[in-house]
């Protein structure tokens, strides 16, 4: 596909995700996802939002107002750092990057989440004769 077609399909996918209601997102995991999104490269606010949509495959919905609350919290705890800069269309925007402690936090959160998921999945997959 050409660049333009990629862009159009991306945009239509965004529109789809924002109009439908797939999966609701609890607050704690949103923070983890933001950390992950920012870890792939510094982004401004809207860019983070888009990237989350992108990497989740548009399967997650963010409740109104919860996005920025999560961003403020992360910034307060020193896991991401915000700085004013210029975005791609020469707009002033605030760019967020992961700090060292943020990297550590992401790592530990990822480990915890995957452990928990593995344990729960293991329990749920048990057949009656395996107990």
């Amino acid at each position: 596909m050409t660049g333009k077609e990629t862009a159009c399909s991306l945009l239509s996918q965004i529109g789809k995700s924002l109009l439908t209601k797939p999966v609701e997102l609890p607050q704690g995991t949103l923070e983890m996802l933001i950390l992950k999104a920012v870890s792939l490269g510094p982004l401004h606010g809207y860019g983070v939002l888009l990237r989350i949509q992108q990497i989740s495959g548009e399967r997650l919905e963010i409740l109104q107002g919860s996005f920025y609350t999560a961003v403020y919290r992360l910034e307060r705890r020193g896991w991401i750092k915000g700085e004013w800069g210029e975005s791609e269309n020469n707009r002033r925007a605030r760019f967020y990057a992961l700090t060292a402690s943020g990297t550590r936090q992401l790592k530990s959160e990822t480990a915890r989440w995957t452990d928990m998921a593995a344990v729960v999945a293991g329990i749920l997959n048990k057949k009656a004769n395996e107990i």
Binding site: H44, G45, T69, S87, R91
Partner: protein, 901 residues
């Protein structure tokens, strides 16, 4: 700049981003999203709306930000506080009453607490003050009496080296005289051993304290001034260090000034100046120097152990009992606070109870006012509940408003408490240690803050819980005017009843105190103190030249008589008498005596007063039988005596007193300063009986007393009782000048101390311990009860006023339906009247229980009469407070009242 930088840094670390910053960022994201949506094909206004729906409103972002970083509680509380302050400003009448009620209560309680702190908890500024003890000697046969004693130098050193003792301070006092300019002035000097600096651990106000180096080479003539002396004599001059003070014709260098709280000490007398003890010169031909000791024990040492260890050291040498007689005495180390704690504990507890009652009344007042005002806010809270405020949120807001009132009241109260706390010290200075200094210190401030918070929660909780309970459906009014259904008034009634009961308690206590004090002032004294003053002189034992001249009895008598005549020659002086330790209302210690016809060995004791023949005329003590001795008999001094009526009744009841004989074996010379007549202990004939004059304190019954001419046992000092026309103190200057012209270096004592000082006899009565204590109670309790009465009446008044304002419609309906005006008045006021009546009954019941106990604590008698007077006063006040605002109920015409919404 440098002050604000760290504050600004702190502030920024709390909320690093500004509101505009947050909003700008949000808007940039919003715009980006909006553009995306437009790019997808949505029209602009729809894109705008959707963007805002999905992401949020820009204006609300700052709040979200502050909430996200945890500042929400802070913001809400701040908002509540500002709201509370605005509400106070909008209702100045309400605010004034509420804040003042609390300011009175909190101020008085803080004042009493700071007094207790200064007097009982931290009265002495010395290091390790709880380990400093005063050694006293107790005779097992009379355990209630104790005496101080002195140690010789070697004994002092031995005690210092004992195991259980950390350090020892030796001290002694002596009259000093400021010479070298102007009229000579008598001051009191306290000599202290040179370890004073480490023993006391008190930092001097200026300069330094007495140091060990001052003892080297026989002693350097240095002197340290007390704070009061420095203020009085030198006007608080800060450049005093290094100047010279000439005392007893020798120059001393001033090296320091002690701080205000240092007033060492109460045993020998608070010194005007402090000197190293190595400078203390023995009296011409006198005994060697002795030391009064203060012993600082090591930590964890019990007084009992110390008594056992130190007893043997103390009881050798001159403290040994006479040969052959058993030693009934034992040593007791008394912590220096003990004499005060016994007397003061009850006094201060009583006063503290009084102010706590006042505080409770003030809080009840505020609670009533909040409840009354809260009724007008039902609408506001109903709406807030309807749009989602939790009950806790509303309760929190009301509590914060209550705390705003209580903290404002506390600020005013603490400011006032500094002066209020001085009041007991001014009224009864003898009851408190001289070192106690009232200061607003951190513990006091912490106490008042805690008190403010406690009070705020106390009086705010009830209204808060009540007002937050409203059901929005019922409280939001429709168009129909609601005739206020009488709400549950139980809380108001209880509060008013409690207030009235407590006020009655305070009033009754004040009544008892005032009655007791008045009874004391009206007690017959047996003499007339008006226009009489005592002048004390001391003969110069330190001046060998003068002292040698006055050694013999005749010379001394002539000298004293010459001074007496000089004083009598001053205009407006009517009578001058000589007395030695015979100034009423208290007199010196008892002595034993023997009356003819009674068996030897009976321990009969009486006061022995040394006076001249004009004594009775000067004091206007009536002569009941016989005669007073004449001038010749006075100069002879022996073979005659006069007794008072109490003596005649107790010891001479069987026969006529005149002509009986008595003798006083102890009337001999005990030291070198006394000049005693040859026959002073011989039999004396009783030639007269005089009326009883108070000699054991103002309220104690008169003790038997014997009067003998003072020439029988002359001392190194004497007092003159001077009766003048008009105020005696105005003649003082003329008397000083007259004496100076006759005997140029004889001066009159300047101090007002009870021992050989200069003061009027009315002052002596005011200084009597019982008199001043009763005066303290009656004034303070009178003030408390007046304040409580004011608060209670204001509380009732404002409650009825609010209630009437609320129920205007109801009264309009009643009047329109034809109710008589008196009945409407009754309806308006009846709840308050009923509560007040209930409170009075409760108060009467409680006071009949407690009244006797309280009176006993004040050393008074309980009088039912004062209780009923108090009740009548309170009833009248409460009636007025109920009826005056109720008049408004009938003042509004019914038609207007019905239209009132």
């Amino acid at each position: 700049m440098s002050l604000f930088a760290p504050i600004r840094k702190l502030w920024r670390s709390v909320a690093p981003r500004t509101a505009s910053d947050v909003e700008k960022e949000f808007r940039s994201t919003l715009d980006a999203y909006q553009e995306d949506l437009i790019g997808q094909g949505l029209p602009e206004d729809q894109a705008r709306r959707k963007a805002r729906m999905d992401l949020g409103q820009p204006a609300a972002q700052n709040e979200t930000y502050r909430d996200a970083i945890g500042l929400r509680l802070f913001d809400e509380l701040g908002g509540d506080m500002r709201y509370g302050l605005r509400a106070l400003r909008r209702n100045p009448g309400f605010a004034a009453v509420a804040v003042l009620s609390l300011a009175l209560g909190i101020g008085a309680t803080t004042a009493m607490f700071s007094l207790i702190y200064a007097v009982l908890l931290h009265p002495f500024p010395y290091a390790g003050a709880d380990r400093i003890t005063n050694p006293i000697m107790i005779d097992d046969r009379y355990p209630d009496e104790y005496s101080y004693f002195e140690l010789s130098k070697s004994q002092l050193d031995e005690v210092r080296h004992a195991d259980l003792v950390e350090s020892v301070l030796g001290f002694n006092g002596s009259h000093m005289e400021i010479t070298g300019g102007g009229l000579p002035e008598d001051i009191w000097g306290v000599y202290i051993t040179e370890n004073a600096e480490t023993f006391f651990g008190v930092r001097p106000h200026l300069g330094r304290t007495i140091e060990p180096s001052d003892a080297a080479n026989g002693g350097h003539p240095v002197v340290v001034l007390s704070y009061r002396f420095w203020q009085r004599q030198f006007g608080g001059d800060p450049r005093i260090i290094g100047r010279t003070l000439e005392m007893d014709h020798s120059p001393y260098t001033i090296v320091g000034v002690m701080p205000r709280s240092f007033a060492f000490n109460d045993i020998v007398g608070a010194g005007d100046v402090y000197l190293p003890i190595s400078l203390m010169r023995p009296v011409a031909n006198g005994p060697p120097i002795v030391y009064l000791p203060w012993i600082k024990l090591r930590p964890q040492v019990t007084p009992a152990a110390a008594n056992a260890a130190l007893g043997p050291i103390v009881f050798e040498g001159k403290n040994q009992p006479p040969k052959g007689s058993p030693d009934h005495r034992h040593l007791a180390l008394q912590p220096i606070i003990v004499p005060y704690r016994q007397d003061l504990g009850r006094t201060l507890t009583l006063l503290l109870a009084g102010v706590v009652l006042l505080l409770i009344i003030g809080c009840a007042n505020c609670s009533i006012l909040l409840l009354a005002r809260g009724r007008t806010r039902r609408h506001e809270f109903a709406i807030r509940t309807a749009i989602g405020a939790s009950r806790w949120r509303i309760v929190r807001q009301l509590l914060v408003e209550a705390l705003v009132i209580s903290c404002t009241g506390a600020v005013l109260g603490v400011a006032a408490s500094y002066w209020l706390a001085q009041l007991p010290l001014l009224l009864s200075p003898e009851s408190f240690p001289a070192e106690s200094v009232i200061r607003i210190s951190p513990p006091i401030l912490a106490f008042s803050v805690a008190l403010a918070l406690l009070c705020g929660i106390l009086f705010g909780l009830a209204p808060a819980l009540r007002l937050s309970r409203h059901d929005p459906a019922r409280a939001l009014p429709g168009r129909q005017a609601s005739i206020a259904v009488a709400p549950a008034r139980h809380r108001w009634s209880v509060l008013i009843a409690a207030q009235v009961a407590l006020t009655l308690l305070l009033l009754a206590t004040a009544g008892t105190a005032i009655r007791g004090f008045l009874r004391l002032t009206q007690m017959p004294l047996g003499y007339e103190p008006a226009h009489v003053m005592q002048l004390g002189i001391s003969l110069h034992v330190h001046n060998p030249e003068q002292w040698n001249r006055l050694q013999s009895r005749e010379a001394r008598t002539a000298y004293i008589e010459q001074i007496r005549q000089t004083i009598a020659s001053v205009p407006r002086v009517s009578t001058v008498a000589v007395a030695i330790s015979a100034t009423p209302p208290d007199a010196d210690a008892q002595s034993s005596f023997l009356v003819d016809g009674t068996a030897n060995g009976e321990q009969q004791q009486a006061r022995v007063m040394l006076a001249d023949q004009r004594y009775f005329a000067a004091l206007r003590i009536p002569l009941l039988q016989g005669r007073v001795w004449n001038a010749d008999e006075n100069s002879r001094g022996d073979f005659i005596a006069i007794v008072n009526h109490a003596f005649a009744t107790r010891y001479l009841s069987s026969s006529n007193a005149l002509g009986r004989q008595l003798r006083i074996p102890s009337l001999t010379a005990h030291n070198r300063y006394q000049a005693v007549s040859a026959q002073s202990t011989a039999w004396r004939q009783i030639i007269g009986v005089v009326g009883d004059a108070r000699n054991d304190g103002v309220d104690q019954p008169v003790v038997p007393a014997i009067y003998v001419p003072y020439t029988a046992a002359l001392q190194a000092w004497a007092q003159f009782l001077v009766r003048t026309e008009g105020d005696p103190l105005t003649c003082l200057h003329a008397i000083r000048a007259a004496i100076a012209s006759v005997a140029s270096d004889q001066q009159i004592s300047n101090s007002a101390s009870a021992y050989n000082g200069t003061f009027t006899l009315s002052e002596a009565i005011e200084r009597d311990a019982q008199y001043s204590r009763q005066r303290l109670f009656s004034i303070l309790f009178g003030v408390f009860s007046a304040m409580a009465l004011g608060l209670a009446l204001v509380g009732i008044f404002s409650l009825v006023a609010y209630s009437v304002a609320q129920r205007t419609t109801e009264f309009g309906v009643r009047l329109a339906l034809g109710a008589p005006r008196a009945h409407v008045l009754w309806v308006a006021a009846r709840i308050a009247l009923a509560s007040a009546a209930a409170g009075m009954v409760l108060g009467l019941a409680v006071d009949s229980f407690l009244g006797a106990v309280l009176a006993h604590w004040m050393q008074n008698t309980f009088a039912a009469g004062s209780l009923f007077v108090a009740a009548a006063l309170l009833a009248l006040g409460a009636l007025l407070a109920c009826l005056l605002p109720a008049r408004h109920a009938i003042a509004v015409p019914p038609a207007e009242a019905l239209r009132y919404e």
